[in-house]
Structures are given as C-alpha cells and as structure tokens.
C-alpha cells in the first residue's frame, strides 16, 4: 500500500504541535504552582544575590583603594 506522505506529514504536525503545546501548558501550570509554593513556604531573605555580589566587588575595590591610599600616605609623608 502506497503511503500518502503529505497526509502523514499533516498528522505529524497535528500530533507534534499538540504535544508541544500540551507540554508547555503543563509547564506553565507547574511553574505557577511552584512559584506559589516557594513564595509561601520558602520566601527569600529579600536581598537579591546580584546586588550582593556587586556589593562584594565594590567592597573589594574599596579595600584595594584603601591599601593603595595607605601606602601612598606612607610614601608621601
């Protein structure tokens, strides 16, 4: 029996797009549920870590600068 490839292709399309949307829909639902659970039961201590690391970098720079300044002070005395 000859297979009608175009018909097969269309079936694959229906199946494929269906599964893709099924998957992503379930994923969206799951993400929403997860977010709610996490925000209720595991709230974050507030300070974002990106802010923290930026702060740390600034701190480090400050320290270097302070050392530099101290040596400068010592040398120019």
């Amino acid at each position: 029996m000859e297979v009608n490839l175009v018909a097969e292709g269309l079936k694959f399309m229906v199946l494929g797009m269906g599964i893709v949307f099924l998957f992503l829909t379930l994923m969206i639902l799951a993400m929403n549920v997860m977010s709610k659970i996490i925000h209720r039961y595991f709230p974050e201590p507030h300070a974002a870590e990106s802010g923290k690391s930026a702060l740390a970098a600034a701190d480090k720079l400050k320290k270097v600068a302070a050392i530099a300044a101290a040596i400068h002070h010592h040398n120019t005395k």
Binding site: V20, E44, A48
Partner: protein, 441 residues
C-alpha cells in the same frame, strides 16, 4: 594532455623531465597495496611521475577511477574533481560570512574548515582513518557531542525571565510551527514535484532546522538522516546568523504600529529557589509526557541545574568554558566532515537550504501571530514583537525583538521580555525533537 601536465610539473620541480608513459603511471597507481608490501625499486623518473600523479592538481583534473567516497561508496568524476573545488570555495564563503559578517563564527569556522579538509583529494581526511573521520566516530556517530554542547548551553541559560512571565512560553511553542509546517512542505515537495525524494525521516531531520537550535538539529540529523547532516548543520547555523535579516520584515508585516508600541510590565523578581527547581521541573514533565525528549532536555537541565545549584561553580564554569569550547571545535570539524562534495553537492542541499529558510520564516510568523491571538484573551497584553523570539536562536532573536521594538519607541526595552519565549523556544524544539524520535523509534 595528461602527459603534458605531468611534464609541466616535472619541469617546475627542477629535476629534469621524464618520459613516463601515462599507461605505466596508471598501472603503478592501480596496485598501491601490493607496492607497499614488497617495496620495488623505481627510477627517479618513475618516482617523479608518481609524485606528479599524487598532486592535488592531478587528482582534480584526472579523477582516479578506483577512488571511493569517505563512506566507501563510488563517486562521480565531478564529485572527485571540480566538485571538490567548488566545496572548497563554499568553505571560503563560510569563512567570509563568519569573519566579515559575524555569522555564528564559533561554529561556522570549524564547520567550514572541516568542509575544506574533507574535500581534499588523495588525503581522505574524512575517511575512516583520517582525523576528521576519527573525530566523527568518536563523538558525532554516537550523538555525544551535541549532548555535551546542550549541557554547556544549559549552564549558560538564565530562566529568570521565563519564570517571571510563564505564559510567554506559549510563544516558544507556536514558533515550532516552523518545524512541522516545513515537514509538510518537505514531503509535499517529494510527493508532488518529483524533483526530490525525501523520506519521512529525512523530511523530519530537515524541518528541525526551524527549531533554530544548532545542537538539536545536529542531534536529530545524526539520528534520522546522517547523510544530510552537513547541509542541515550549515543551514541551521547560517539562518541563525541571518535572524536579524530574516525576522524584521516578517515581524513588521504582521503587526500594526499600535501593537509594536505595547509596553510590557516590569518583570518580577525570581527567587534563587525557583531557578533551582525549574530544570528539575521541566525534566520531570518531560519524563511524564515524552521520555523520548529526555536525552536533550536532560542534558540541558543538567547544565542548568549545576549552575543554579551554586555549590559546584568549578564544574559549571568548566561546562561553560573549557568543555564547551573543546567540544565545539570537534563538533564543528566533525560536522564539516559531512561537507564532502559527494554528500553536499546534490540537489537535496538546495532543497534543504530553501526549506530551512521557509522554516525560519514560518516559525517567526507563528510566534508573532500567537502573541496576537493571546492578546485576544483578557489580561495584560503582550507586545507581538517578542513572539518572533520564540524560534530560539538564543539570544540573537531576543535582541532582534528589542531592536525592532526600539525603532518604534526608543524607551521600550523588550530584551528581557523576549528572553522568556527565547528560552522556551529551546525547550519547545527539544520537545518537537522528542516527538520525532518517538515516531521513528
């Protein structure tokens, strides 16, 4: 002519002329295996004639009738001769695009160079004992390299924007229409035009170009149609690089000025734990719904999970740097080994290039239209320009959304909003790939 050529070369080599008859030379060539075993003395003239016949110039002008392709099949004289020259020029075009135009150089340079090397006559670098052949067997034939790349890409991906606006994932789903639409197109071409004769497997491997995701394309092509790998990989990476040219006209044609100026609300902060759980969540869903997609989604989730865990920074850094770089070099060279003239210079390649372009365009359009459909429902509106980012091509497509958006409103920063559908597009393509594996498994 043949004798003349040999003489010319000999004169050039400054060591005197030789009157080797072509028939003698031919006989010598015919039985190299025997010569190797019992070494026979040759006159210097004979040696020079043999050298002349081992040059690339000679091999291209006078194809060796006994030569087989890297796959051990017979080849036409064109594929042994001028076809190789054309492919070397194609490699040069890839170099030009990669270097001068900035087309995905990380992959197009190694692929192009692999293509150049695999088209060298006599040396058989892409054959089973050449180093490209060894690389292909070591990591492409078993599909390991694209999986490792996927781990690295996972370790580089930030799902924050998607987590802060989950529904944009649907845009990344709609863009997969580029895959399945093209699949129908490819089989239609085969059935109705008679110009091509793609099997369903080949059509599927070609259409995955529409996923705009390099490693996924390579993975599926290796699995379903390794004979098309070279053309599919080149098309895939070339069009990913062409995203800034292909997408804007489609985006503009499908939207009106008001839609393009829609402002999207600021993204909410996403907690560290959400990012940590997300890769596991996606993987669990893939296990439940479509286990055939889990090699790809699992590798991706692994890389992302290592990164988000925050406790194995040295592994995460290695995935994102040393390991992905090493594998990129070998993946590119290995894919390039499939650009041999006898595999690439066939009518199918034109069809693949054309279908790949269609796939990208359809995917882009589907993403934009999906956004417009979602705007028909109540709720906060989505700027349809981020729909095009659903094809993946991370982060290029998201940048295109941002750029087009700013053309119409200087203050409308869409970049982070477009990253949501952009990474969802990667997941969507992996799911689509899983569907194909599932169908043909």
């Amino acid at each position: 002519m043949r004798t003349l050529f040999i003489k010319l070369l000999l004169a050039l080599s400054l060591f005197g002329a030789v009157s080797a008859s072509a028939s003698d030379a031919y006989a010598a060539r015919e039985a190299p295996a025997v010569e190797q075993k019992a070494y026979e003395s040759h006159s210097i003239g004979h040696l020079l004639a043999n050298f002349a016949k081992s040059t690339g110039v000679y091999a291209i002008l006078y194809p060796n009738p006994d030569e087989m392709s890297a796959l051990g099949k017979p080849m036409s004289d064109f594929h042994k001769g001028w076809g190789r020259v054309i492919m070397i020029l194609v490699a040069f075009v890839l170099f030009y695009l990669a270097i001068a135009k900035g087309f995905e150089p990380l992959l197009l340079l190694p692929i192009g160079f692999g293509g150049l090397l695999s088209n060298i006559p006599v040396a058989d670098i892409a054959g089973p004992h050449g180093f490209l052949g060894v690389i292909y067997q070591a990591g492409l034939a078993n599909e390991l390299f694209p999986i490792i790349i996927f781990m690295g890409v996972g370790a580089m991906t930030d799902f924050g924007p998607l987590l802060s606006n989950p529904k944009t994932a649907l845009l990344g789903g709609a863009a997969q229409f580029g895959i399945f639409g093209t699949l129908v197109g490819a089989v239609a071409l085969s059935q109705y035009t008679g110009l091509f004769d793609f099997t369903l497997q080949q059509a599927s491997a070609i259409s995955i170009i529409g996923g705009a995701d390099g490693p996924t394309s390579i993975y599926i092509a290796t699995k379903l149609a390794p004979e098309l790998l070279g053309a599919i990989a080149v098309a895939s990476y070339s069009y990913m690089a062409l995203v800034p040219i292909i997408q804007p006209p489609i985006m503009k044609a499908l939207t009106n000025a008001k839609e393009r100026k829609i402002k999207m609300t600021t993204l909410r902060h996403v907690s560290r734990m959400e990012k940590l759980i997300f890769p596991i969540l996606v993987l669990v869903l893939a296990i439940l719904v479509l286990p055939d997609s889990t090699p790809l989604i699992g590798a991706f989730a692994f890389g992302n999970f290592l990164k988000e865990s925050g406790v194995v920074e040295r592994l995460s850094n290695t995935l994102q740097n040393a390991l992905i770089n090493i594998v990129t070099i070998f993946l590119g060279l290995g894919v390039g080994s499939k650009l041999a003239a006898d595999q690439f210079l066939v009518a199918d390649t034109l069809a693949i290039l054309a279908l790949g372009m269609v796939a990208f365009s359809v995917g882009t359009a589907a993403g934009v239209i999906m956004a417009k459909i979602m705007n028909l429902f109540p709720g906060t509106k989505i700027n349809p320009l981020i729909g095009s980012a659903g094809v993946s091509a991370v982060p290029m497509a998201a940048r295109v959304s941002n750029k087009v958006g700013m053309e119409y409103d200087r203050n409308n920063m869409l970049l982070m909003h477009a990253m949501g559908p952009n990474v969802a597009g990667v997941i969507g393509s992996a799911v689509a790939a899983g569907v194909m594996i599932s169908i043909f498994a």
